[in-house]
């Protein structure tokens, strides 16, 4: 058996499905592609499938990954990729398959590009107001946690956040804590802009990459 990390995108229509749906979709695709998954022995055999880091519904992913364990197989990397692509919807394209180097547990940061489209206010004006907000001492937003809603100050997490107007839109590039220890959803930034600045906008968000604690790209 061997472990393989499958790299894919979750874009277009696929942005609107939950992690649970994605999981089912992948299992079905693997079944359809007749990929020889390795199953645990015993009474209730099951396969190993682990996603590096689930993505919130509504957010696109440019470099998502899933680890699977295969039986010993002649299947080449190219064949694996093309078989999976034939079994997946167009908006979940697989672009690579590699040997896993880092463990998903090492993931500490994720980078995002957010494009905000405001109504009633021009992008430049909005950018300067958001910049103003980012200078504040603290930026408090309500965050859903296991123990209910708590107030979270996201200011300390926004050090790697850049904002600029871009062809009529507001582009925010940010790197946020991600993973099992601390996770800051980029939607919290949207919430902050909405509550502090009373701005109404539509946000198109994509996750572009994952990193370990030393800011090395997740491979």
């Amino acid at each position: 058996m061997k472990n393989v990390r499958i790299w894919f995108k979750k874009i277009g229509t696929a942005r609107f499905i939950s992690h649970l749906d994605l999981n089912r979709c992948m299992l079905r695709a693997i079944h359809k592609a007749k990929i020889p998954l390795w199953y645990t022995q015993g009474f209730n055999p099951h396969a190993f499938i682990t996603f590096a880091l689930p993505l919130s519904l509504g957010i696109a992913g440019e470099r998502e990954s899933m680890d699977i364990r295969l039986e010993d197989t002649e299947l080449t990397r190219e064949e694996l990729i093309s078989r999976l692509n034939a079994a997946l919807p167009d908006d979940i394209p697989v672009f690579d398959a590699t040997e896993p180097v880092m463990k998903p547990g090492e993931i500490a940061y994720a980078s995002f590009i957010m494009e905000l489209e405001t109504e009633n206010i021009c992008a430049e004006e909005a950018v300067s107001r958001i910049k103003g907000m980012l200078e504040q001492e603290n930026i408090i937003v309500p965050k859903h946690t296991k123990s209910g809603i708590v107030d979270l100050d996201i200011k300390p997490f926004l050090r790697k956040t850049e904002i600029a107007p871009k062809t009529g839109l507001i582009e925010i590039q940010t790197v946020l804590p991600a993973g099992s220890n601390m996770n800051v959803n980029p939607l919290l930034i949207c919430d902050a802009i909405k509550t502090y600045l009373k701005l109404d906008f539509y946000a198109d968000i994509k996750r572009t990459n994952l990193y370990n604690a030393d800011f090395q790209i997740f491979v």
Binding site: T13, I17, R24, H31, K32, G58, L88, D91, Y202
Partner: protein, 618 residues
């Protein structure tokens, strides 16, 4: 492709995956290269509509025609509807994201009466005039198929034409005719008159209905050369009938999320309450080889690891063991499960059980339908208590410990003793569990007895029967609950209000079109969803229109009354239904089609079991 405008709304709705399309095997064509845009509309939410086999068949089949692009449309849930209305986004088709108002065909499938308000709401959301008489151009044509078209009178004002019976051939013939008339720039009237000549096509505007003083129908008169009777279309050779080799595989979970093989159409039984049992006659089977190939293709093309063998009564398939053996030759290796959705009490064998179990096991359900032998004879449910107990004992031996039994209350001739009989039968099943010497150790048994309310339907021997009033149904429901004496039997029942409305529309006539319109105006929609249904609103609509719903639900018709659906011919003769109704009152059963032909009339289709040789029964 959904537009940016649609995307923006999705941030504010639950389950946005319902509204985006893009699923595996969905079909995208170039709109410039097709002549006919066809919107296949299912008047319920995505998860329900996507589970429907008929839609999958016709979607794939229509898209095999290079000049047609058939797309899917479902009813948006309230939150999405609110967004669409607020943002002026008209109802769109999932594949293209295009508004369906510009399509050539807006086709609905009518599966249950409770979806009728959703039909109107969807037309309204699409910005299409609701009444056929307010739509003057050739397109869009608003059409419908599905079982409810056997009495589509309550919808007659809204539709241009109905497909009666099975659509595989007829739909294509109508589309072809339309394509020609469109090229020739002909009018809608010309098209409809010509379409009415296609067998199975019912154009309601070509029929005048007159009424007697007592409110019953006097006559249904065709005009412009439309046929006096519209005979349903039937696919006689099931092996040659189109079946898709792939399904659209949804992103999100749906009600029936698996591959479905259609093993047969029709039913050999003649349960007297069951509309499908008469409507889909004659009984026609596919061959083992064809079903096997269709299952394999579907699994290969979808990735599903479960196959459901679907039909009205799959265990009546004459070669069920042979089929299961054939499927097992590859399903085991491919880790694919086989399930039978409907099991019968009388032919559930250990062998059958072991084969389903070897792949996957689901809960066991049986439908004795009535609590006493007398009443089971009345409804021609040829199942004896002995058979039921034998079957559950087999199941208990096989390790099952929960069993669900389906019944109906409000059946013709029913007494309170029959109602109590439901609880007693449940008790006997519990007793059978404890009498079983090798019952699973330390396990308890649970028997659910579920009672729905009888709804008299067109084209059944009970089409003349009054439905019990809501009060009577409530009394019977209470009697059922108080007749249960142990916690191991769990009674439950359906909302009688809902069954009442179903009964009104199932046997309604054209005068109900106004009620439907009124109900739509006051916000009735998603009536099939318990939280949405409001009888009070409906009664208000009836009152406003000056129509008494009890006239439709609770009135006994005489055999010589002209029924709203008398111009529709499903093969089964009215004289046969009358005979069956009389036999019901005499507690007499009728043999099933495999035992003996009872000359119901469906032999006019010259196929299926009607022409098969019967084995000599001893």
């Amino acid at each position: 492709m959904i537009t940016k405008k649609i995307e923006k709304m999705l941030a504010n709705v639950q389950k946005p995956g319902r509204y985006v399309g893009g699923e595996l095997n969905s079909i995208v064509k170039n709109p410039d290269q097709v002549d006919v845009r066809f919107a296949f509309c299912f008047p319920d939410v995505y998860e329900v509509g996507m589970s429907h086999l008929g839609m999958k068949i016709l979607y794939s089949q229509l898209n095999t025609l290079p000049y047609v692009w058939c797309e899917r449309v479902f009813a948006p849930w309230m939150d999405m509807e609110e967004q669409m209305r607020k943002n002026n986004v008209p109802l769109y088709a999932l594949e293209s994201g295009d508004s369906i108002a510009g399509f050539d065909f807006i086709a609905f499938t009518l599966q249950y009466e409770l979806s009728f308000t959703n039909v109107l709401n969807m037309l309204d959301l699409a910005g299409i005039p609701l009444k056929a008489s307010d739509r003057h151009g050739l397109s869009p044509l608003v059409v419908a198929g599905g079982p409810c078209t056997c009495n589509s009178e309550p919808l007659a004002d809204f539709f241009d034409l109905f497909f009666i019976g099975e659509g595989e051939e007829m739909d294509c013939e109508v589309i072809e005719l339309y394509r020609r008339y469109k090229k020739e720039n002909r009018s809608k009237e010309e098209f409809l008159i010509a379409a009415a000549q296609i067998p199975g096509v019912y154009v309601p505007s070509l029929y005048d209905v007159t009424y007697n003083d007592n409110g019953t129908i006097k006559a249904i008169l065709p005009k412009c050369g439309a046929p006096e009777k519209i005979r349903k279309r039937v696919m006689i050779d099931m092996d040659k009938s189109y079946f898709p080799d792939k399904f659209v595989v949804p992103y999100i979970g749906i009600v029936h999320d698996r591959a479905v093989a259609e093993v047969l159409r029709g039913c050999i039984r003649g349960c007297r309450f069951c509309q499908a049992g008469f409507l889909y006659r004659p009984f026609r089977e596919k061959s083992v080889a064809v079903i096997d190939k269709q299952c394999h293709d579907l699994c290969d093309n979808t990735g599903y690891d479960e196959i459901s063998l679907s039909s009205l009564s799959t265990s009546d398939y004459s070669r069920i063991n042979e089929l299961l053996n054939q499927l097992l030759t590859w399903t085991k290796e491919e880790k694919t499960g086989v399930s039978l959705p409907s099991l019968r009490v009388d032919n559930f064998s250990t062998e059958l059980m072991s084969k389903i179990k070897s792949v996957r096991r689901s809960g066991l359900t049986f439908a004795p339908e009535a609590g006493t032998q007398r009443l089971r004879d009345v409804i021609n449910k040829n199942v004896t208590e002995e058979e039921l107990l034998k079957t559950v004992k087999t199941a208990f031996k096989g390790g099952w410990t929960t069993i669900k039994l389906y019944f109906m209350i409000g059946l013709p001739t029913e007494t309170m003793d029959d109602v109590a009989g439901i609880a007693e039968l449940g008790q006997k099943v519990v007793d059978a569990f404890y009498e079983n010497p090798d019952k699973p150790k330390g396990k308890s048994v649970k028997v659910t007895v579920s009672a729905s309310s009888f709804v008299p339907k067109p084209f059944t021997p009970f089409q003349w029967e009054p439905q019990d009033t809501i009060e009577t149904l409530h009394r019977k429901q209470r009697h059922l609950v108080s007749s249960v004496r142990t916690r191991k039997v769990e009674p439950n029942y359906h909302d009688a209000d809902v069954s009442f409305l179903e009964a009104v529309f199932a046997r309604g006539d054209r005068r109900l079109c106004n009620v439907l319109l009124e109900a739509h105006k006051i916000g009735c929609k998603m009536d099939g969803w318990q939280d949405c249904f409001s009888l009070a609103k409906w009664l208000e609509a009836f009152r406003k229109c000056g129509i008494d719903p009890a006239f439709y639900a609770n009135r006994r018709r005489s055999f010589d009354e002209v029924l709203p659906w008398d111009h529709i011919d499903c093969g089964v003769k009215k004289s046969f239904l009358i005979e069956e109704c009389k036999r019901a009152y005499a507690n007499q059963t009728t043999p099933n089609c495999r035992e003996q032909c009872s000359s119901c009339g469906a032999a006019c289709f010259k196929g299926g079991i009607c022409v098969e040789k019967r084995p000599n029964l001893v």
